[in-house]
Structures are given as structure tokens and as C-alpha cells.
Symmetry: C2
């Protein structure tokens, strides 16, 4: 009878899907450092430093900036649950899976949700939201900045102006955005923002960075009803992550070590340099994918460098090709979600994965496997096109 | 200006507080293995194996047995939120901090909560619950098996009989219990149970093992209202952890590696052997603490081996002594929570920490520091008393 399985010895993968992305070795090493108590003076220092680094990466002075002890979805739910109370009006932009999830969470929190929709792969212009703002007079408007299901890059700044002119607060999903493209929490006047560790921060999943503006904090502190979840109640978490360090729950110590190291890596490189690296490697990959005859799903001019969603060519068994990439090359790319299931590949260039080595390897492997499937294209052109792009710098 | 802090290099601690406990080196090593995708065939196998091992440790055949992607408190809230709907009656036994927290979570979930109280350090006899069961006719009764704030060991079996005779379901907190004392989910007919990784499983905090009986699952699937939290909705999590592996959220991959290895360690040792080790080392510690003139807070006959709560002697500055233990010996023990703040020390002998080395070191260090504080006792007697206990076997 099966009783005790053999120990964990994972295959070494090249993670180019929608996340988790390649983890930097320094992050894995930090995560395995000796565990200390969650109220140990050393851990309190690590918490302080992590909060300070998160503020730098979110580009905010927000006092209430910390990491929720769960994955990105926990951070998503924390921001939604804390900002709305039963009966509050909320507008959610839905142009992919994660906007839909925001709406689901908001309804569970008791909000009266109005969804504004755009086709998958497209983004919202300010005028798309005008009617909803006027009709619903929402307390909160929520948008996904980097839609991981479609690869669409949602501009935030202008919409934020409109949302605030209408008296609402702005909540933004930056799970796939943070560390890959500029996220300007203060400059864009974002009231609540959440992210995850396993995308452009090159850290394993397990924590969800969040930040709340002073206005959002005031709203939370003046709630008439308790937040449905004790675990995600920001008024309690503010005391744990504030100067008092009032015991709430036992934080995931070693995950915090990992995120601390991941944030150090981003700041050592420099945020602008990090964004430029994502952009350049994306352009090289895009040139190569174009040479293979693959087409992006996201609207031109609004493509995320870190999440490249392309249509599967006609006649290709997409699951089989992905499985061969995994089995023969150790490369993981993602399939489609929701409306895009079976129709789209999602290629991540996030954090440590956003480098020429990964791009070249993937293009070479795709060329081999697409040719075997009878897909026709100019052999050798993909790598040449990518190399040409890097040469231009 | 402070920009990038130095890297994570924690001091090496001996964790004898209320958790996290000492982490086994094999667990830290497993956690640092290469991250794979959360839908990678290898990861799906690790999930299966982890579920199978959790069933063995919980002593259950429950299909819906998995780890919530958060710390123990997330598991606690998940069990509460899923079992009750707004307006449902729930009875909670409160004899410490964590019973009180259960009641708070249940009220947030909309339940009509009736608290039955016992003094801190004491436990519930079946007759303590009879009136509440008859008057309230609850849907759920919740008890804390190992009250981490007091060190009291709550017997479950007889009460379970009574709860089920009254038609209710039984929810049990085993955060500090699991792996340290017997938890018999099936034999005791427990409907929902949650635990944490950072206590007797010798694993860092970050996951919350849970298990639901067939009756609990049926209750969840027949809910009239959606669970308030999308992240903790067991009907969605059942699809992710079930045969279909329907994508829900990105699981904390490396934390799962750690828990996998921690469970392997427990099963390699054998559950009964593991319980016996906790008991023997507790008895040795208790003999030593007695020789130092320290008195347990928990009711005689109901003391947890893994959490030894003792009253701070008169005239001792408890925080100063704990700080000296940490600074001079690297030993962490816990202070009191809630009603016990400033009055109690909580000494953990959990998992890898439950061994003679830790007991001897702590007794020696306590003797030195208590003597320096002018506390009077028979010098050398503590270590002698502990050694005497081990000699008896």
C-alpha cells in the first residue's frame, strides 16, 4: 500500500507561462534561510524593509502598504472586501478573466456591481466608462492593468482622473504589471492596488503586495459593517503591519524572506532598467513570433511586454505542442483561459524570465515543433528577426 | 537615503514558542527546490501525494482534504465561512483566544453565534454544552482542541457524540494539535477541521491543512448563498483539488514542497511514535519546570505536551527574561495573549523542537536567568528532574 511518497525533486523548468515565472536563484536561497518567530525583532525589521521596498516598487508613499498572507487572489479579494460594504455601488471593467473575477468577488462582498465590457484583448478608453460613472455613481471603480488572460495593457492615468472627478475611488489589479511595466500608484492617484509575487518579481507564489491610499484607509476605518473576512480585514492588518505590530496571524516568514530578496533584485537593477529589459526582450520575441506567422490577440499599441498572447494557428493541436515544449525542452507556456481556451498561447516574459536566453530558446523550440506539425513559415527567420531587434538595442 | 536594505540573513533561533516551531532542515531544503508551474504534471502529483499524506495525518478518508493557500487563520476562516450561512445558529466553545476568534469569524459570516465559556486553562465537559445545544439547536458547534493561548487539551470524542445526537456538525481547531497529539477525524466524526503548518509539522507558516466530511461537503454544495470569500470558497477549491484540477488560483508551489517534506517526516517517524516523543519530552520539561517552581496554567489532566503554559513567578519582569533568552541563548519562548498577557510564558515543544536537546538547553538557560532575577529554587534540580524522567523512559 502507498504510504510515504518519495521526496520532492522537481524537474527544472523554464517558466514562460502566465506565472509563476522563472524564480531567481537568490530568491530560492533566501527562502531557505532559518525561520525566526513572527514577532522576532529580526523579522520585524524584515517586515519594515519589505514595506519600504514595496512602496518604492509601487511608487507610493502610502503608509498602508504590505503583503497579504496569501496569493494574488487573496490580495484581490482583500482590496475589494475592504473598500465596499453591502449595498455599495461598484463599477468593474471586464475584458478578460480577471475583471470577471473582480466582479464575482465584489458581489460576494455585497456590492451592487455594474460591469462595463470590452472585447477580450481590447482596453477601456475613458469614454467607455462615462455612462456607468454618471448612472451608477459608484463608490469604487475597478480595472485590471495587465489582463493576464489576454495580454492587454490598460492605461490608467486618464481614467483615474475621470473616476476621481466622479467622486469614486480607483482599485487596480497589478498582479502581472508590477515590476514589468510602470505602476505609478501616487502619480495616478490609485486608491487600492494589489499584486502577486510570482509574475515580474521572480518570486514563488504565496504573498500578495497591496497598498491603500489615505482616502481608502479612511473609508476602511469608517466602515459601518465589519469586513466579511477576519483574515483579510485591513483594519486589523494595519495594526499588525503598523508601528504597533499587534499580533494578528502568523505571517509566512520564509515567503517574506523570498519577497524581500526579490524586491532587492528589482531595486538593484533599477525600475526603469527593469521595464526597458522587459520591453526590449518582448520586442525581440514579438519579431520572432511574427516571423513564425503568429498573431497577437491584444489590441495594437496595448500589448503587455511581459505577457504575449498569440492565436494558435489553424490546424495545430495546441495542447500537444505545449506538452512537447514541456517534455522535450522543459519550457512551460500557458494555454488560453475562458473564451480563449484552446485558441491562444500565453507566453510570459516576466522578471528573471525576460532575457534573451529564454527568447532564443523558445523561438528555436517553437520553430522545430511548428514545422513538425506542418505549419509553414520561413525557417530560421524567427531567431534572425529577434537577433535583429536586439542589435538595434 | 535608505533605498536597498542588506539581504536576508536571519539569526539562528531555537523556536520554543507557540509557533513557528523549529523547522526541520529537510523541510527548508525542500522548499528551495526549483519552482514548477501550478498546472505542471509534476506539481499535480505533489498535490495528490500531499493530500494522501494529509489524510493519513488527520486519520480520515475524507475526499475533500487539502491545504488552504494561507496560514492557519485562513484555514480557520475557510471552515467557518463554508459551513455557515447568514442566519445559521452556531455554538462556539470559548476558553482562550482562539475560541474567541472562531466566534468573531462566525459572526462576520452572518451566523447567530452563542458562546459557551469556560475559564482560561480549563476545558469543556459534554454537560457544559448541553443547554446550548438544546436551546440554540445549532447547525455547527466549534471547539479548539489545543488552545495555544492556554495550553489546554480539549477532549473531542464524547462531545462529538453529543453534538451529532443534537443534529449539529462539529468543527474542530487542530492548529497546534496536528502531529503532536492524536487527531482522529473519522473515528471522532469531525465534520470540518483545520490546522497550520508551523506547529507540530515543523514547517514554516504559509499553508493551512483542512478536511471536510461528506456531510460537510453536501452542506457546502447545497448552500443557498455564495460563500462571502471567493478565495476561500470550498466548492471552487474542491474542483481545483479534485480530479479535474480546475484552475482557481496559483497555489504557493514551494510552500507545498515544504509541507510535502514535513508530512513525509511525520509518517517516516510514525504518528504514534511522534505523539510518544512529544509526551515524553513534555514530561521531562514539566518535571524540570516544576523544580524551578513554575506552575502550569492548564487544568491538571488536560495539559498539551506541545504547548506548556506556565505562570510567571511574582516579581519577575517576564518580557526582560524572554528578551535575554532570545539575545543570549537564541531561544524564543512566547508571552501570554489576551487575559494572560504579562502573566504567562508559553513554551512550545512542537515537532522538531520536541527533543531532549531543546529541553535541557531551556532548563539550563532558565535556571541561569531566573537565579539572576533573584527567584529562589534548588539549583541543578531542574536538569536532574528532567533527566530522571527520561531515564524512566
Amino acid at each position: 500500500m502507498f504510504l510515504i511518497p518519495v521526496g520532492v525533486n522537481p524537474p527544472v523548468r523554464i517558466l514562460m507561462g502566465p506565472g509563476p515565472s522563472d524564480i531567481h536563484p537568490r530568491v530560492l536561497s533566501a527562502m531557505a534561510r532559518p525561520t525566526v518567530g513572527h514577532l522576532d525583532p529580526y523579522y520585524l525589521r524584515i517586515m519594515d524593509e519589505m514595506q519600504s521596498m514595496l512602496r518604492q516598487v509601487f511608487r507610493t508613499e502610502n503608509e498602508l502598504t504590505f503583503a497579504v498572507s496569501g496569493t494574488g487572489s487573496a490580495g484581490q479579494e482583500a482590496t475589494v472586501m475592504n473598500l465596499v460594504e453591502p449595498g455599495d455601488a461598484m463599477v468593474v471593467g471586464v475584458n478578460g478573466v480577471f475583471g470577471g473575477r473582480l466582479a464575482d468577488m465584489a458581489r460576494r462582498a455585497g456590492a451592487e456591481v455594474t460591469c462595463v465590457e470590452r472585447p477580450w484583448g481590447e482596453v477601456f478608453a475613458p469614454e467607455d466608462l462615462k455612462d456607468a460613472l454618471a448612472n451608477v455613481k459608484p463608490k469604487v471603480v475597478a480595472l485590471v492593468m495587465a489582463e493576464t488572460s489576454t495580454g492587454a495593457w490598460q492605461p490608467i492615468e486618464e481614467i483615474s482622473q475621470l473616476v476621481h472627478d466622479a467622486g469614486a475611488m480607483l482599485l487596480v489589479d497589478t498582479v502581472t504589471a508590477l515590476g514589468g511595466i510602470p505602476v505609478e500608484v501616487d502619480r495616478w492617484n490609485i486608491d487600492a492596488v494589489y499584486s502577486g509575487t510570482q509574475k515580474c518579481l521572480s518570486c514563488p507564489p504565496g504573498l500578495a503586495p497591496v497598498s491603500f491610499s489615505a482616502r481608502a484607509v479612511q473609508t476602511i476605518m469608517n466602515r459601518k459593517t465589519k469586513v466579511h473576512s477576519w483574515y483579510l480585514d485591513a483594519s486589523l492588518l494595519a495594526s499588525y503591519w503598523g508601528d504597533d505590530r499587534v499580533y494578528h496571524h502568523t505571517a509566512p516568514i520564509n515567503m517574506t524572506y523570498a519577497l524581500h530578496e526579490a524586491l532587492r533584485l528589482v531595486l538593484e537593477e533599477g525600475l526603469e532598467e527593469c521595464f526597458a529589459r522587459h520591453r526590449l526582450n518582448h520586442e525581440a520575441l514579438a519579431a520572432g513570433l511574427g516571423a513564425l506567422g503568429l498573431h497577437f490577440t491584444a489590441q495594437q499599441g496595448h500589448r503587455l511586454p511581459q505577457l504575449n498572447a498569440v492565436r494558435v494557428p489553424d490546424g495545430i493541436d495546441e495542447a500537444k505542442l505545449r506538452r512537447r515544449l514541456l517534455d522535450e525542452f522543459g519550457i512551460e507556456i500557458g494555454g488560453g483561459l475562458g473564451d480563449f481556451k484552446g485558441k491562444v498561447w500565453r507566453i510570459g516574459l516576466m522578471g528573471f524570465a525576460a532575457r534573451p536566453n529564454n527568447v532564443l530558446l523558445l523561438l528555436g523550440a517553437l520553430e522545430q515543433l511548428l514545422a513538425a506539425e506542418g505549419h509553414s513559415f520561413d525557417h530560421g527567420a524567427a531567431v534572425a528577426a529577434a537577433n535583429e531587434r536586439w542589435r538595434e538595442g
